[in-house]
């Protein structure tokens, strides 16, 4: 039995994909780990003073600095002769790809031996579902609401895993709570790599996306099966897709189960399907080329 280092009793919503990700992230990382977390859903639900859900050391400071706090922790632990302790910087999509992006970029560039994990639930869920740089195209959020003149968010997601890679990072992966074994395997693999490593895990949110709390895994799986969320790894610059559905389901099957996409018309769905198809084909080509992407640097 693995220890539960992110204990039950925290205040996450029923069906929270992010809490599931944290539970399995901490299991995979193990006891000899120190975490720092950005302000956000997972921090707020797990550290209500004087209680804590964390069985490993945790520090929260602000929304935008998890990556640089992690740098300070790692260098201090090295100075103390505790080089073996894993240091993991954790942030939601807002805290990692938007407001914490400068800190992430700086820390990646400096090469600290830190694992950065973005739990991506696709919007600022903690403050009431506002758009982030990771919110998917077409999603209705409280700051990109659908309306007579709006079909939801009008931009595509920022590709932060590839941006992380281009800092010269030797291990980058995407994951999903729909495949926890794959996620845990990637966490373990990442922690074996010296230097910076980045994992971006897709975490469906029943509140923000608008689906029943019993469907979290199912929504995550539909994202993966449709190719709207692709599981991949980039090890030492070599790109490989971790999971290829034998036949991808239509993206409509993924979108239709969520209130945030309810307003989309057929043209919108087609636009998204085209985007997903093109992305899938390009990623397959990239895999086939057997390129060392780090040589681009």
């Amino acid at each position: 039995m693995e220890d539960d280092l992110f204990a039950s009793g925290h205040r996450a919503c029923a069906g929270c994909g992010s809490a599931l990700a944290l539970r399995h992230l901490t299991k995979a990382a193990g006891k000899n780990s120190v975490f720092t977390i950005a302000t956000g859903c997972m921090e707020v639900v797990s550290t209500q003073y004087p209680t804590t859900a964390w069985g490993v050391p945790l520090i929260h400071t602000t929304f935008e600095n998890a990556a640089s706090v992690a740098a300070g922790i790692k260098e201090a632990l090295n100075q103390q002769g505790k080089e073996d302790t894993n240091v993991i910087a954790l942030a939601g999509d807002g805290g990692m790809v938007d407001i914490g992006f400068r800190a992430l970029s700086g820390s990646l560039e400096r090469g600290h031996d830190v694992l950065y994990v973005c739990y991506d639930n696709g919007a600022y869920m903690n403050t009431g579902v506002q758009k982030s740089g990771a919110t998917p195209f077409g999603a209705s959020t409280t700051t990109t609401p659908a309306g007579k003149q709006s079909h939801g968010k009008s931009e595509w997601q920022k590709n932060v895993p590839f941006i992380a890679l281009m800092h010269g990072v030797n291990y980058v992966a995407t994951a999903s709570i729909a495949d926890l074994d794959d996620f845990k395997k990637k966490v373990k693999k990442a922690l074996e790599v010296e230097g910076p490593k980045y994992i971006h895990v897709h975490c469906p949110c029943p509140i923000g996306w608008g689906f029943d709390t019993s469907e979290t895994i199912d929504q995550g799986r539909k994202a993966v099966e449709s190719g709207a969320w692709v599981l991949y790894e980039i090890e030492d610059g070599n790109f490989s897709i971790s999971y290829k559905p034998s036949e991808r389901i239509p993206v409509k099957d993924y979108l239709s189960g969520q209130k945030r996409f309810k307003h989309l018309d057929e043209d919108d769905v087609e636009t998204i399907q085209d985007h997903v198809d093109r992305n899938w084909e390009e990623l397959k080509k990239l895999e086939g080329l057997d390129l060392d992407l780090l040589k681009l640097l």
Binding site: N65, A67, S68, I73, E75, A76, Q80
Partner: protein
């Protein structure tokens, strides 16, 4: 004695305190500190890890991570850099992390200006950090060492800013006595915290979320700790004086010829000019505030007791008051019978000479119910706030 540039002298002082992690970002005029410390590490003279961050926000965040992990953390900054740190500065004091910053004081934008005033650190007066203002490079060297000891004292455990005027001190060559490294090690014990560390064998959650009731109680705890640190600032100053033979007033304030009916009140390097001015007259004295946070209310009251007239000279503005922040604080603790004047001086590096100080003392009187004036250039006329008759 060695003749050294201010910032270099401070860097050598930092070195003797053996910080574990220096998380640093360059900004004028504190840049020489990260440069000199980097050289000391490069030359193998200091065994510290330098994190060359991408912003001041990350400079202080790196310090928070290192300090929370139980290590001695240090940085230096000025002006915009300190302003950028603001959010994390509040978190660092709230988390009781004894980080030391050498603030090399510089004006804040806009307009952008690289020269000295004290608006940067004064604007941080409410954030739970201790603040000490130095008059000379020797005091900056000594106060840097004291800062680590004060911050890490188990009855304090608070971050601290050691403030030094940009250029006027940081870039000026002065003879300084650099304390012997072994003696500094005897004076400053190793940092071995019981309250903040990140040890997997003994996991702790730092920086939690708190509902209103515990939040309010913890903020009061913080305030009590800041207030209570006054005794330790004083004690560490006295211990330093005993070991190294140099003292600065009583560690909180310094009085100079303060037996006259008129007292000038100020902070930082301008006090040297004031002292030199007062040497040529016998109708006014000086009370220099060294420790601004915690605010040594009792000591200030006692030093200004019975004065007819107090003239506050300060290098900052509390916008909306038409005066500096210090004036408001001094006025709030003195009886109404004491006339308190405020002169905002030295903004953005404007010079101030002995003739200016003479002019202030000569032109102000206790007949007026306290005036607020501005000196905008050396030799200039004291200016009123717009709309004042």
């Amino acid at each position: 004695m060695e003749v050294k540039q201010g910032a270099q002298a401070i860097a050598h002082s930092v070195k003797k305190c053996k910080p574990d992690v220096c998380s640093m970002y360059p900004i004028t005029p504190s840049t020489e500190l990260p440069e000199e410390i980097a050289q000391l590490v490069a030359d193998g003279e200091l065994d510290a890890t330098i994190i060359r961050v991408e912003s001041e926000f990350s400079a202080i965040s790196g310090c928070v991570g290192a300090s929370a992990a139980g290590s001695r953390a240090y940085t230096a900054t000025s002006s915009q850099g300190l302003a950028l740190m603001t959010e994390v500065l509040f978190a660092a004091s709230g988390m009781r992390l004894p980080i030391v910053i050498n603030v090399v004081n510089r004006a804040l934008s806009a307009p952008i200006n690289i020269w000295n005033d004290q608006q940067d650190s004064i604007s941080q007066r409410d954030n739970g950090w201790l603040q000490i203002y130095c008059e000379s490079n020797q005091e900056a060297v000594d106060t840097t060492i004291q800062s680590f000891k004060i911050a890490e004292d188990e009855d304090v455990l608070l971050p601290i800013m050691c403030c030094t005027d940009g250029y006027i001190l940081s870039h000026t060559y002065e003879p300084v006595e650099l304390p012997d490294e072994e003696e500094v090690q005897e004076f400053l014990p190793e940092y071995d915290p019981d309250h903040a560390y990140l040890d997997p064998e003994n996991p702790m959650t730092q920086g939690p979320f708190a509902y209103p009731k515990p939040y309010a109680a913890l903020r009061k705890d913080l305030s009590d700790a800041v207030n209570g640190s006054k005794e330790i600032v004083k004690r560490v100053h006295d211990e330093f004086a005993e070991k190294f033979g140099r003292s600065y007033g009583n560690g909180l304030i310094e009085e100079y010829k303060n037996d006259k009916d008129t007292a000038l009140v100020s902070m930082g390097s301008i006090c040297g000019t004031i002292k030199s001015t007062l040497d040529n007259r016998n109708d006014a004295g000086l009370m220099r505030i060294r420790c601004y946070r915690p605010f040594p209310e009792e000591e200030i009251k006692k030093a200004l007791e019975g004065k007819d007239q107090v003239i506050v000279l300060e290098k900052n503005v509390s916008m909306g008051h038409g005066s500096g922040a210090l004036y408001n604080e001094i006025k709030s603790i003195l009886p109404r019978s004491t006339t308190v004047h405020d002169i905002v001086v030295g903004l953005g590096g404007t010079d101030i000479a002995e003739e200016d100080i003479n002019n202030m003392i000569d032109s102000l009187s206790n007949k007026e119910n306290g005036v607020k004036r501005w000196l905008l250039e050396k030799g200039g006329k004291l200016q009123k706030n717009r709309g004042e008759k």
